[in-house]
Amino acid sequence: MSRWVVRRLLTSLLTLFFITTITFALARVVPSNPAVVYIGPLARPAEIARVTKELGLDRPLYVQYVDYMRDLVHGNWGTSLATKQPVLGGIASRLPATLELILVAMAMAVAVGIPLGVLAAHRKGKAADTGARVGAVVGISMPVFWLGLLLQVLASQWLNILPPTSRQSLDVAVLHPVTKITGFLLVDALVTGDWSGLQDAATHILLPAITLAAYPAALVTRMTRAAMLDVLGQDYVRTARTFGLGERLVLWQLALRNAIPSTLTVVGLSLAYLLTGSFFVEIVFDWPGIGQYATNALLNLDYPAIMGITILGATAFLVINFVVDVLQARLDPRVRLQ
């Protein structure tokens, strides 16, 4: 098993290397001039020339490449052309907000999706099943950015409240902020017993998380239903029923445990989707995560920041796939005991 882990790590690093190289190459194909992005479009040619030299953009491509890769490994991910701040720091400071949103959304999706999928399979053809299937196909058809706006409109029209934006109310953030331990507001507030802070953070994360959770919840529902239908037709389920075991035990333990690997695959795919999906939710809800950082980087052609985001995204994706594969192997007793 550990030989497989090592081989996986090596291929992942190789893939990461390729991705970085490709993105670097793409960034150099850029029609725009990074120096211009750096100092602004109104600069004079002399200024542009100076900055070009300063940023090392006049050196041969392969020199720039080698330097960049070397810096990467040493933790220097370059400086953002737009913010003039280190890219790594910029990403790292905004990461917890995005991570918290993604994790809460994923938890919601699983908490809703799995039971719904199980019930739909158990009551195949009946009202609950049709309802779940309709809900699921609607869930995968909604553009996430539209859903976020829709929820805001509904909240303001039906509940007559101004839907909260950002992560915390202004007065909480300024007057009695939550002590920072992990960077996850919900966790920090809980741990320090800051109940008003917890409530504030929870009300702020609610709508964005629901928006982000809709698509994965639909996917999880569909896959769980399909896998459960397959499992419920197996001999061993018939055996359990023949021996008089209760339907609840059969469904939620004996059958579901066999359907979980398929659901896990979908959870992995959903997390990958959430990596970029979160950008949109963050824009719509003014959430201070990497979404806005990334979008600005893309629109401004801030190529060090774009590189940083790409490397982060690809790494996260590789990590997710790796973890999912490890979990799959652990879940299947036929593999685990090798």
């Binding site: 893939t15 990461l16 390729f18 991705i19 490709i22 993105t23 793409l26 960034a27 194909v29 850029v30 029609p31 725009s32 196909v137 609607v138 995968i140 058809s141 909604m142 553009p143 996430v144 950015f145 539209w146 706006l149 829709l150 805001q152 409109v153 303001s156 029209q157 101004l162 839907p163 990958a272 989707y273 990596l275 970029t276 950008f279 949109f280 824009i283 719509v284 979008t295 893309l298 629109l299 052609l301 774009i306 985001i309 790409t310 995204g313 690809a314 996260a316 994706f317 590789l318």
Partner: protein, 300 residues
């Protein structure tokens, strides 16, 4: 005496490929979700084609502003209200069907045209060609979904064309993989062996026999993907990485109304609803297609 066969039509009947697709269409006609999904798609296609005639304010649909009439709520004059530049939202949504359908279908078709031949050849030949294809697709598929398209589109310069190119680049590996898998499973079917034995040359084998049997899974995947591509185009447009003003693109329209969505909700809501409806149509149709065609497809 040797027999040479120059065309698969000269092969004896049992060795021709099956017609799963035509069988399927007959069944589809009876399923309600297929009818609903297909109906939605046909309707929106019609709207796209007849846009200049259907739109109450076609010039505004294309981009003409009428600033004094801006931010008007829905009324009998403007069923969907007007946007920040006074343009009739209904007309904009109607004209928006054109880029939505056009670009998405173009992306899917191109991704299939690029990916399927590569996948088929790699799957049929095997060997280093296959390995190479697998490694290349691995790299592409290692990018988180949509991120690659965002980066490419941004770097090329945000426009509808560049967004389309970016999406084709992101999507072709899926079809290459799919075509490869299907080809590999078909490679060992008796009728392919028979064709080879009779001397049919490889390009013909691939195009007539393999392709005809591969169309069903590819068609199913393409229909399911069409919805996802529409969402992707809309997403890129929302970020400003695709269509630029004054193009009537649904994603762009949603972005336009974003900051004032509480007060002038119609500017974002209706274009978004349009995206949702079209994607729903493709998903409904794709689901039914998959259910109907999967149990019957050969070798899966």
């Amino acid at each position: 005496m040797s027999v040479t066969i120059d065309s698969p039509d000269q092969l004896p009947a049992p060795y021709r490929s099956t017609g799963a697709t035509s069988r399927a269409f007959r069944v589809l006609r009876r399923k309600p979700s297929a009818l609903l999904g297909g109906g939605i798609i046909v309707f929106i296609a019609f709207v796209a084609l007849a846009a200049p005639v259907l739109a109450p304010y076609p010039a505004q649909g294309r981009g003409l502003a009428d600033v004094p009439a801006r931010d008007l709520p829905p009324s009998s004059l403007h069923w969907f209200g007007t946007d920040h530049l006074g343009r009739d939202v209904l007309s904009r949504v109607i004209f928006g069907a054109r880029p939505a359908l056009g670009v998405s279908l173009a992306v899917v078709v191109l991704a299939v045209l690029v990916g399927v031949p590569l996948g088929m050849i790699a799957g049929y030949r095997g060997g280093w060609l296959d390995e190479a294809l697998m490694r290349v697709t691995d790299i592409f598929l290692a990018f988180p979904p949509l991120l690659l398209a965002m980066v490419i589109s941004a770097l090329l310069g945000a426009s509808l064309l560049h967004a389309a190119i970016a999406l084709v680049i992101s999507w072709w590996p899926w079809y290459a993989r799919l075509a490869r898998t299907v080809t590999q499973s078909l490679k060992h079917e008796p009728f392919i062996d028979a064709a080879r034995v009779f001397g049919v040359r490889e390009p013909l084998i691939l195009t007539r026999h393999v392709l005809r049997n591969a169309t069903t899974p590819i068609l199913v995947q393409a229909t399911v993907d069409a919805g996802t591509v529409i969402l992707a185009v809309g997403a890129l447009a929302f970020l400003g990485l695709a269509a630029q003003p004054p193009t009537p693109d649904w994603g762009l329209m949603v972005a336009d109304g974003r900051t004032t969505v509480i007060t002038e909700w119609w500017i974002s809501m209706f274009p978004g609803l349009a995206i949702f409806t079209l994607v729903l149509g493709f998903n409904l149709l794709g689901d039914v297609l998959r259910d109907v065609l999967d149990p019957r497809s050969a070798g899966r």
